[in-house]
Amino acid sequence: MNVLFLLLIAIVLLGFSGVPGCLLSARSAAGQRVATALMAAGSLLGLACVAGILCAGSAPSLSLAWGFQQSRFAVAVDPLSAWFLIPVFIVPMLGSVYGLGYWKQAEHPANGRRLGLFFGLLAAAMALVVIARDGVLFLIAWEVMALAAYFAATAEDDKAEVRRAGWIYLIATHIGTLFLLALFALWRHATGSFALEAGHSFPAEAATTLFVLALIGFGFKAGLMPLHVWLPGAHANAPSHVSAVMSGVMLKMGVYGIVRMTALLPVGAVWWGPVLLAVGAATSVAGIAFAIGQRDLKRLLAYSSIENIGIIAMGLGLALLGREQHHAEWVLLGLGGALLHVWNHSLFKSLLFFNAGAVIHAAQTRDIDQMGGLAKRLPRVMALFVVGAAAICALPPLNGFASEWLLYVGLFRTLGLGGEAGAPAVALAAVALAMTGALAVACFVKVLGAVFLGTPRSEAGGHAHEPEAVMLMPMAALACGCVVIGLFPLGVMPLVAAAFQTWASHPAPLSVAASVPLKSLSVAGLALVGLAAALFLSLKLILRTKRVRQGVTWDCGYARPTGRMQYTGSSLGNSLVELTSFLLWPKHFRTALRGHFPRPSAFKSLVPDTVLDRLVMPLFRTTGRYLPKLRVLQQGQTHVYVLYILIVMIVLLVWGGMGS
C-alpha cells in the first residue's frame, strides 16, 4: 500500500470537509463541527504520512495516466514537498478549530457553509500543489487554490470593500496564472512533456525565460514587490482565519513554486541570484515601511507578510548565487534560512492573524487608533501577541531570530572571510535586513502599544472580553511552536540538509551544524531566558518587603487625562513615515487653525499603496474611460454593418493576394 494513497486520501478528506455542512441547515453548528473534525482527521493523517516518509528517508512517487496529451497524474513527496506540506497540514487545521469560535455558523448563516467548503478546498488544493509533479496537474491544483482562496476571502461579499479587494485579488492571481500557463507551455516545449523532473538541459535563453516567467508568475502569489498589490486588501477583508491561512501558507505556495522551478532548472545565469536578492531586499524594507504607515490592523499584518516574503526571497537569492558560484555554504545557509523562515512565518503570522481576529472581535473595529487598553480585557491574547510580535521582529530567543540568523551568517560569508572568494557587494543585503529588523521592531511596538497597552480609546474596547478556549488553543499551539523552534533550531536541520540535497541535486558537503554553531545559539537563548527569569525573581524578592502604591500615570500635572490623549499608533509611526515618505507618499488631511478662537480642528493621515493606488488604479481608470470610445463602431446602423463586411472582404482579397 503506497503511502501516497494515504496522503491523497488525507487531501480528499480536507477537500470535502465542508461538503457535509452544505447539506445541513444554514444555522446548524453540527456541519461546522463535522468540517473541523474532517480537517483535523485529514491533517493528522497527512502529517503522519509526511512523518513516515521523512523517517523512511524515501521519496515515493506515483504516476497515473489520465485524459490529457503528454500529461500524467504524477505526484511525489521529496524533502522539499515534505517541508512545505507540514505547514499546509498544520495551519488550516488550527484555523478551522479557531473558526469554531470566530465564525460561528449560527452567527453567519449567510456565508458560513460556503466559507467552510472553500476553506477545506483551499487546504486540499495547497497540499496538491506541493506534491504535484506534472504541469497540468500543478496548474489545476494551483487555480483551485487561488479560486478557493478567493471565495473564502470574499465570504462577506455584500460589503463593497470586500468585493473590491476580492476583485483586485482575482485579477492579480489570474495574471499570475497566465504567466504560469506560459511557463509550463514553454517547459513542455523545451522538455517535450509536462513532467516536472530535473535533469533536463536547456539553451541558456530558454532557461532564463523560464526563470523570469516563474519569478513573475509565482511572485504575484508570493507578493514580491511590486506584484503585491492584491495582498493587503485581500488579507484585510477576509475572515481572520482565512487571512491566517492565506498569509501563513498560501503565500508560501508562491515561494514553493520559485524554489521548485529553480531546483528543476539547471544552474542559470550569474544574475539570477543577485536579482532575487535585490528584489527581496527591496520587498522587505518597503513592505515593513508600508506596514508602519497602516491604521488597519490586518492591512498592517499583510504588509509585514510582504516583508517576510522579501526576507525569504533574499535567502533564495543567496542560495542561487551560491549554487552558481559553487559555494555550498552559501547555498546551505541561504536555503536553510529561507526554508526555516517559511515555517517560522507560517507559525507567527498565523498566530498574529488569530490574535487580530480576537482583537477585532472584541473591539469591533480594525482601526488601530480606535483601540487601546485591551491588555486588561484580553490578557491571554495579549501575552500570545507579545510572543508573536517578538518572534516576527526576529528577536532572540524566538524562531524568527533563528532563521534570520542563518541568513545573516550566510550573507556575512559572502564577504569572503579568511581569504576565500566572495561577493562582498552581496553582503549589503545584510544591512537591508538589519534595517528591516529595526523597522519591524518599530512597527510591532506600535501595534502592541496602540492596541493592547494604555487605556481604551473607544467605548467598544471598554467592554471587550477574552475569546473562548477554541480560539485560544490554536494561538497557544502556534506560540509554543515559535518558542520551541527558537530555542532548539538544531532539531529541524536534518530536514534542511535533505531539502538541500533535493534542491542542489547533490548531498550537502557539510551539515548546517558544522557550518554554524546552532547549539551555542540555543545555549545563548537559554542563558538569556535564565538571566531574565533570575532577575525577575530577584526583583520579586526585593519588592516583597517594599510597599507598592497604585496611582495614575504621571501626566505633568495635567488634571484629567483621558484615553484619547494617548499617543496614537499613527503618531507613533509618523516620524518613520516621514523618514520614508519618498517611498510611502503619505496623504495628510488637516484643517488649519485660524483666528484667536479657532474652530475645532482635525488631522488625519493615511498611507495608500503606492503601486496600487498611484499606478495600477489610475491606469485601469484611464483605459476604462477611453476604451468605451470604440463603441461608436457599433451604432446599430445596419448598412454600416454591411459596409464592414464589404470592407473586410476587399481587404482580405487584396492582402491575401491571388497568388496566381
Binding site: 517578538a390 540568523w405 560569508r413 510591532f444 496611582g551 505633568c556 484615553g563 507613533l572
Partner: protein
Amino acid sequence: MTIVNLILHVAVLLLLPPLLLGVITKTKAWFGGRVGAPLLQPYYDLAKLLRRGMVLSTTTTWVFRAGPIITLATVLLAGLLIPIGGFNAPIAFTGDLILFAYLFGLARFFTTSAALDTGSAFEGMGSAREVTFACLSEPALFFALMVLAKVSGSLTLTTMLQGPTNAFSADVAAPLVLISIGLFIVLLAETCRIPVDDPNTHLELTMIHEAMVLDHSGPLLSVILYAASVKLLVLGTVLLHVIAPFEFGKVWLDWPLYLVEILGLAAIIGIVESVMARLQMRHVPYLLTGALLFCGFGFILLIR
C-alpha cells in the same frame, strides 16, 4: 588563568558601569567649574532607589515591569559576548555578533513597550523617537560589524574585536577610522548622551530615554539606570577595541590598561557633553544618517 579572567570579566561587567557615569558627571562638573558629585554617587543612588518602595500606574500591566528586567538581562548577556580587556568572551561562537546586535533590539522592544504601557503621551513620544533613531543606528552598527568581520576574517566577536593587529596597515586604516567615528556617534545615541539626548534634563517634550522612564520608580528605576550604565560599558568596550587595539598579552598589564582606556572614554564622553549642545530633535536623524554614511563608506572603501 581563564577562570581568573572569567571572574574578572564578570566583575568588571557588573561593578564598573556606574563608575563611568560618575566619571562623566565629574568631568562635566569640572568643565562647569563645579566640584560636582563624588565619583561613586551613582552607586549611592542605585542603592537608595533599591531601598525605596514604588508607585505603579493603574494603567500598567506586567509589560511595565518586564521592560527594565529584560533590558538588564539583554545588556548583561551582550556583555558576556564581547571580550573585555585582552581576553576571550565567556560566550563566543560564530555569528554571535548578530545575536549581540539583536539583543539591543530586544531591549528596545521591551523598553518602548513598557513606556507605552503607561498610556502617557510623553512616554509615547519617547518610544517613537527611540524606535525611529534605532532604524538609522542599527544599519550603521551592521556596516561597522561587516568591516570588522572583513578585516578580521571571522564572524566571532572575540576574534573580530581582538583581531585588528594589522589595524594600522594602510589598506584597512581608513575604513577603521571611519567606522570608529560612526560607532562613537552610535554609542552616543544608544546611550542617550548629548548631543542626541540629555540624561539630566527633565523637560519631557525634548527627551528620548528619560521620557520613557518617567513612570518607573524605586527598584525598577534603579534597574533601568544600572542597565543604561552597563550598556554604556559594553558599547564603549566595543569602540575601544576598534580605536585602541593595544594589548600586552599579560593579565596584570592588560586589565589596568583596559580600565584606563574605558575611564578615559568616559571622560571623553563627558567632554563632548560639556562642549556640545543638544541637537534639535528633528536634526538628530541627520547626525545618525551621518554615522550611517561613515560606516557605509568605511565598508565600501574596504571592499572596493
